[in-house]
Amino acid sequence: MSQPAAQLLASAAFVLAAAALAYRQRLGLSRSLLTAALRAAVQLAVVGALIALVFRVPVLAIAFVAVMVTTASLTAGSRMRALPGARRIAVSAIALPALSAVGLLLLVGAFAATPRATIPTAGILIGGAMLATTLTGRRLVEDLTAGADEIEARLSLGDRARDALVPLTRRAIAGAMVPLVDQTRSAGLVTLPGTFVGLVLGGASPETAARVQLTVLLTLLLVQLLSALLTAELVTRAATLPGERVLAL
């Protein structure tokens, strides 16, 4: 059997086994397991075809990255839709740090300026920025609601609206960075990160794979911190009302 056929057969067998097991255990999960698998298959087939097209017509890479930024912004924006201008906040907090980092990495020659190198790198950095934006924004929206008494107490003691929000934004930023710090600390010990696995499967030497993975992980640290800081700043502006007051959510 050819390798592609074996891959398809093995993965189909595994998902069918999972669905059968869930059915036997009466977990009510069989249908969602199968539809999720089918959805993943269709999405990856379409993306595969699109990327093949982009590799032939490099200028399409720009459109591809724009679609990634848009999707990430819509996802992150929906997590803080209680705030006015949530989507605008998400676009800025994701696009600015992620795209600047991609630009810098290309500029210094860390990656070749080809769609093959740019698209995966941009994808990882945009995904990371989306995670930081979502976590920071969602926590801030929760705290603006649950912490209304604390904010009012600080305002009543004479704080400016911006200062009254500082403890909330610090907590949200620190919380958002925890998953990335853990991921970076455990890289190679608990899991083998995606870039590393992909490069090794694609035929690169483990040494090259480790170097590229490290570049991506360390870039992500700054990109995600900047996304969290930008989200906090933009949410603070959106939640601050004239007359040193804070928006009640």
Binding site: A153, L157, G243, R245
Partner: protein, 234 residues
């Protein structure tokens, strides 16, 4: 000009105040004066707009119409943070900020270089709220409900406000602790502080207040505590 001088009130003067939440009118044409050196009780059923009115007095909420004057000056023209230091507010839930009681009391003092947070000042505020000075080093998060209410009151007093607004200060307290808070408020007023207290407890209002502002259906009726008790008895 001469009219405003003639009508100048030493304290807060509320004139024709109107407030709404969205489409709903909460208060309309509310007027009364809360003088320094006296206790004013805002009474009325839940949802009558007592908390809303208190928050208009230090501009945490902006009214749709009317005005609030402090010593004859429109509060809309005052810098909001400076106004809130002159007109303190103690909310219904006594929020303790992280750290010790000392850190809570000193919060924000000295930030603008005009106030200092020396222990004497903090102990004085604690004493005025009925707590001993040895509370200063206690972690604020470990205090009981009654102690928190007193620390929140002391924290507002460290700013040396001219008027103090309190939202349901006895809501979480037993009868003895409520009487203690009542006695504290009357003492503070005797020393020159203007006190405005929102409460649903008519007996407490009658005990501490020099005047009562009763809110009903969005309007206010101003009277003496004796009238309030008489009306209640009927």
């Amino acid at each position: 000009m001469s009219t405003s001088v003639a009508h100048r009130i030493d304290g807060l003067a509320v004139r024709g105040l109107a407030v709404g939440h969205g489409e709903r009118t909460v208060l309309r044409d509310v007027g009364f004066a809360a003088r320094k050196g006296s206790v004013t009780a805002l009474v009325g059923p839940s949802g009558a707009g007592k908390s809303t009115l208190l928050r208009c007095l230090n501009r945490l909420l902006l009214p749709h119409g009317g005005s609030v004057l402090l010593d004859g000056e429109d509060t809309a023209a005052l810098e909001p943070c400076a106004l809130r230091r002159r007109v303190g507010l103690v909310g219904q839930t006594p929020v303790m900020l992280p750290g010790s009681v000392r850190e809570n009391l000193a919060y924000g003092l000295g930030a603008d270089g005009t106030d200092s947070a020396d222990d004497g000042r903090l102990s004085d505020a604690l004493a005025a709220a009925g707590l001993a000075a040895d509370f200063l080093d206690r972690p604020a998060g470990e205090l009981s409900g009654g102690e928190r209410a007193r620390v929140a009151l002391a924290r507002a007093l460290t700013r040396e406000p001219e008027l103090l607004l309190l939202d349901e200060p006895t809501a979480a307290l037993d009868a003895a602790a409520a009487r203690h808070i009542g006695a504290t408020l009357t003492t503070l007023a005797r020393d020159g502080l203007g006190v405005v207290v929102a409460t649903h407890d008519l007996a407490f209002a009658a005990e501490v207040a020099d005047q009562v502002v009763a809110l009903r259906d969005g309007s206010a009726v101003v009277g003496a505590p004796a009238e309030l008790l008489a009306e209640r008895a009927r």
